[in-house]
């Protein structure tokens, strides 16, 4: 698939290792992946980019991803689907996703295979 045809995913997570693992796994699956480690980087990367999906970690130093997601949607008017990505339990993630009014969540607990599969389902590439 040509680079400009690849769907673009933005991942925000404070863990550099987590970003590298998710980026590599999703790039192997044929996606173009952008990364951000904090809100400042996220704002820079997201601005002016055409994105197909945003994956947002929840527990980060000095900020919560669900709060950031709410700001993106309600203040910046971002229409790209936003999914929370966290090692919290599915129950807690579901509650946070609902409160933040984001599009859904993905549990890190399910592993990297499940992450890739879930992304494919979200983007209708399953």
């Amino acid at each position: 698939m040509a680079a400009n045809e690849r769907k673009r995913i933005l991942i925000c997570d404070d863990s550099h290792l987590m970003l590298d693992m998710a980026k590599e796994a999703l790039e192997r699956a044929g996606y173009s992946v952008l990364v951000a480690q904090d809100f400042s980087q996220l704002a820079n990367v997201q601005e002016g980019q055409s994105l197909d999906l945003i994956l947002m970690d929840v527990q980060m130093p000095e900020l919560y991803g669900d709060d950031v997601a709410m700001v993106l949607k309600e203040v910046r008017g971002v229409r790209t689907p936003i999914y929370l990505l966290s090692s919290l339990s599915a129950e807690e993630l579901a509650e946070r996703a609902d409160e933040a009014d984001v599009d859904g969540y993905i549990c890190k607990r399910d592993g990297i295979d499940a992450l890739v599969q879930k992304v494919k389902e979200i983007l209708n590439d399953g």
Binding site: D14, M21, P61, K108
Partner: protein, 251 residues
């Protein structure tokens, strides 16, 4: 870890091969920072973040047991944040268990990365450690780990010091003692004499206390201890002093 992996298919295996050594480096750094944060009750939020991140990173590589332990520690750290001192003790145990699990993973991937690394991936909450001696390399020799006996009436404090010294490559043992026994200076002096007479080889006796340094120095002199260190200097400095004392003993 063998037998611990979720049946994650070939992608998980590939990622574990590709990122295993780096995960190990990161996990060791997170455990080390967590051990330090156990001694800082005002910074439990950072402890929660470290354990939460470790849980996620381990889960991505299918290390379910390690991830579960990190997650349990995270929950206990959150309870500690709310004021539960019991949760602090359980959190310390979880971090100690994590340390063991991380080393088990190290042993399972490759012997060439089994030795603790001096320069771990710092991550977003790292402290600059330039110039400081790394506890991980101080005891990395072919000899059996040096044994350290810790006598402390506080189980929590003793466990915490055990964890820190264990991470520095030493073999710590904890003996709790009745608070009234340790409070008696005469008995402390007798304890020091008994330890020296019963030990099969020369020992270095170091007093570790939360009392002021001048008072601690005075008591160390009275009981003829070889050295002392105040708990107020922080766990990293305590470990450095213990390692320095062992080096002096080895001369």
């Amino acid at each position: 870890m063998p037998g611990d992996a979720k049946p994650g298919g070939s992608l998980t295996d590939q990622m574990r091969t590709r990122f295993g050594p780096r995960f190990l480096e990161t996990a060791r750094a997170r455990v080390r920072r967590s051990l330090e944060l156990l001694g800082k009750p005002t910074e439990t939020e950072k402890l929660v973040t470290e354990l939460h991140s470790l849980a996620g990173e381990a889960a991505m590589l299918g290390l379910q047991s390690l991830s579960d332990t990190a997650r349990k520690g995270e929950e206990q750290a959150k309870e500690w944040q709310k004021g539960s001192t019991t949760a602090a003790l359980y959190c310390a145990r979880s971090v100690r268990a994590l340390s063991q699990q991380v080393e088990e993973f190290a042993a399972s991937i490759d012997a060439s990365v089994a030795a603790p690394l001096a320069n771990a991936d710092p991550g977003p909450s790292a402290e600059a450690a330039a110039g400081k001696p790394s506890p991980d390399t101080a005891a990395a020799t072919d000899e059996a780990p040096r044994k350290v006996l810790i006598i402390d009436d506080s189980r929590l404090a003793g466990d915490h010091l055990c964890d820190a010294l264990g991470s520095a490559g030493l073999d710590p043992r904890l003996a709790t003692a009745r608070e009234d026994a340790l409070a008696e200076l005469t008995q402390l002096g007798e304890l020091c004499v008994a330890l020296r007479s019963k030990a099969p080889r020369p020992v270095y006796i170091m007093l570790i206390s939360g009392m002021s340094e001048p008072e601690l120095a005075r008591r160390a002199e009275e009981v003829e201890a070889d050295g002392y260190v105040s708990k107020h200097v922080g766990i990293e400095r305590v470990v450095e002093q213990v390692l320095a004392a062992l080096q002096e003993l080895a001369k």
